[in-house]
Subunit: 139 residues, 3 copies
């Protein structure tokens, strides 16, 4: 069995946006009980991440590290058409994920207790982001 | 066909633990000859990595780089409930993988000659880590 | 339905090589219209990346960042059997991907407008690289 659905998510600037409930809604709708769920983002300046969902300062610190590893407006960048957060967003995508593959067990994403699924917007302004979710498995 | 199994792995502090034989045992048990094997770790302070399995100094050097990119006890971290290796472990997870998707060919994981599958424990003490392996394909 | 095919790609030194047309040819040959396409590289010194395919300076800047995060010939490396680009190549693989999982929609890889699929050769000389593509889904 296969269930595939594209959906949009409207971001409001750089940061993380939790997708876990939306992913579980789709798994529920699919009727699939055992298998995998693959989530893909159709952009190169926003990405996907599984990280701790309990203490929000974890995501504050991840952001600090990404600013350090992928500085905005680095004078060494050649690509800066869309401003100082343009090239840094592509670097951040390289260091994180454009897809996630999660196990589906008992009709839910089998996340650990402290895991959340996040869309990570790397641009500083708002964007409409397109994602595709594909669930494969059996009832 | 789908085969899904969760299992625990007991780590003994920061470092890499090879999972390749265990993954191949599961593929053998599944009876699946052609398809994919998806491995997922249910934690945000331990991760998965495919890297060279021949010279162990490769993994010594990867560890050195991760300590540089994700320093323990960085004064800029806000999240430090569980000590200096708490936030650095989350950063290391962001830079590596929470899931791996491997091809299954002729009833085995189709790894390259020098590739090994590793669980990477990022905390400095021992933990019981939960993983789920999902194999999908045909006999 | 499953379609699996291994293929070789000859690289000519460090840099990115676009695979998007080859991946779409395989999806076309598979006859699969809806599902996922998993691409895996059987090496630990070359990797896979989805990034912007419009302005080539994006990939120039990603290369600059990788040279910074994973320096060639770093004096701290223990592993240098094959020269200054040996260990840095393994680090670059850790920071990028050994597999990609893409949605297949309407018989094509459902990439965003600006996304391209790249093989990233991290060694400075030429290599024959082995990849396996597994497509699963339905007509």
């Amino acid at each position: 069995m296969i269930y595939q659905q594209a959906f949009d998510y409207h971001t409001a600037g750089r940061g993380t946006y939790e997708l876990s409930p939306e992913v579980d809604n789709h798994i529920h709708n699919s009727g699939i009980k055992t298998g995998i769920c693959s989530l893909f983002i159709h952009h190169t300046s926003a990405s996907l991440l599984v990280t701790e969902n309990a203490d929000p300062t974890v995501r504050v610190d991840l952001e600090m590290i990404l600013r350090r590893l992928a500085p905005d407006g680095d004078p060494a960048y050649h690509h800066d058409y869309e401003g100082p957060d343009d090239m840094s967003a592509h670097v951040r995508c390289m260091l994180t994920n454009d897809s996630l593959t999660l196990p589906v067990t008992h009709g839910r994403s089998a996340l650990g207790t402290w895991q959340g699924i996040y869309l990570y917007e790397h641009r500083t302004s708002s964007f409409r982001r397109r994602l595709t979710l594909t669930i494969m498995g059996e009832h």
